[in-house]
Subunit: 189 residues, 4 copies
């Protein structure tokens, strides 16, 4: 990988006009991306009986609808070129609806449905679609408390996550993965 | 089962005020239901790259959001009473995102997430939540063509479906099913 | 259901000669069965590193090989007649390999593979193959201790289980279930 | 990776004495392996009603029992050291029992059960256990016919498969994958 300066762009992933404009702008400045990652996610932890309708919709908008819009815009451009990778960040809540997690799981299940359909549609067009289910907490600047409590080995290292995303991007087109899980060695699951 | 006259009520399942009013009206006229079935579903068959944002949202509203609103309103009332069954109608698209079916699967995956979370939350409160994944076409007034082509055995009989829903409703509280599939004996799967 | 006297026959399910002889004897005395249930199961709870090879083989023989032999013998006879139900008793260990449960899960996963393949092969021949995953402990004569500790509602009632097996046997051939789960309402899962 | 000469050793994976002796010999000559791959597999394609009992047992011995013996012997040694990777080669038949594939799926489902239990037991001891489900045919010296018919892009490249195995072995211990799928971009699934 040639390392170079990082560029940051802001965008509302749930606004299709905004997303399309961002793809156009980035493509103009840097070229059409080789790799697009949809990372954004809502989070909600409460029983179904206490979830407000607006709350559920808002969660789904960020977790799933944004993934659809970004994924569709990337797919339209990448399929024309015939190459590129599109990676979605999933979670255990992609395939298990736990108590108090409906608000999160409704969006994450939906994102997994989207990723599966897209992989089947776009693989033959040269675009690699995959979803990475992260099972655990990710280490970050605000995690001093968790590290003190559970130890640093209980948190996923962000660089380690990035290595798996990059390995997915670099897979040969005769041996692509679609769904991959990631968790700490010491995680209970 | 005591058979009696059927009552029909109309309602927009994606409008929480409408749904709550319907539950109140039915409860006043017939008593709080013992069994609620959420059957409504969108359907969309096209590649992700061709799906309009509004189309996806509309599909999800009917397939998943309506299930959430009806399920929540039923749960609030049934959990207070400590009994009742809440059945969701699923599909193969609840757990498989096929090519050209993202618009359908995003909603059905979400409905399955909802059902799983609700079952875990409401079982201990005496409310039985289950999802029935129907894998095949259902026989009905408009299916003369399908019957002529594939034979009547290739279509699910609606009364046969109803028997399984009723069997789920009547299960003893120490042996509840959560997820059940239904398909014709001759179906390829 | 016409109730009648029960008949007990002994047989080593892992011995194909014994199983075939039993089917012939029962068919002669009572007629070819309409419903065959494979219930037998091993159980082993220890880490993989401590499991003896013979132990694993013995577990698999009872849990999976016996199911294959009984299932095959039933299928050969029922498919000729063009009707009958063949039900396998599964468990959570059919789809989740927990720590310390490899010895149990290897057999139960295998049983689920067998049931899936058989359902696809035999459905078009009129034979209904299903698997019931029982998630919890079953109430029985030796469970006074569990009842005292957790309450009778925490144990699956055997008659309640039987009702679901019977409902599966009676399903209409256009709406068959293949995989069904059963657990107490208050179970954590 | 330091490349060096390859060493070949023969062994009957279903004979625990043979497997233990091989581990001892290799450990003496090269050191305890960092990475063990269980690749061996049976294959059988016929309806359940036509499978001989001995045939099923033989398939299971190679596909699953050998995996257990090799996995257990590797685990006993690697867990003592506190490091190492143990990779099992799976297939679609690990999670889907298709018609005519019971003889294959019974073993592959069992192997997946084994891998899941081992991952949960050995992760906290520093040993990474994963399973790679290969969905498609692998390119090899005998595949001229398949290449001519479907094109070289329809077959998994062995080096590409090896890259994913190596990437799994090199994952950081806070972000391990357990189950990964691999298939050609153009595969229908």
């Amino acid at each position: 990988m040639t390392e170079g300066p990082a560029h940051g762009y802001g965008c509302d992933a749930t606004d299709e006009t905004d997303v399309a404009a961002l793809f156009d702008r980035v493509s103009g400045e840097l070229g059409l991306p080789d790799l697009v990652v949809y990372n954004a996610s809502g989070f909600l932890m409460k029983p179904v009986m206490e979830i407000e309708t607006d709350e559920l919709v808002q969660q789904w908008n960020v977790t799933c609808l944004g993934g659809f819009i970004v994924g569709r815009e990337a797919a339209r451009r990448m399929s024309e070129r015939g190459s590129g990778s599109l990676l979605f960040t999933g979670a255990t809540a992609c395939y298990k609806g736990s108590a108090n997690f409906a608000g999160f799981a409704v969006g994450k299940f939906g994102l997994r449905a989207l990723a599966q359909s897209m992989a089947r549609e776009l693989g033959p067009q040269g675009v690699h679609v995959a979803i990475v289910n992260i099972d655990g907490e990710i280490n970050g600047p605000d995690h001093a408390h968790e590290i003190a409590e559970k130890g640093v080995d209980a948190l996923l290292d962000p660089d380690a996550i990035a290595q798996t995303y990059l390995a997915l991007h670099r897979q040969h087109h005769t041996a692509w993965s679609h769904e991959v899980d990631l968790r700490p060695a010491i995680e209970k699951w």
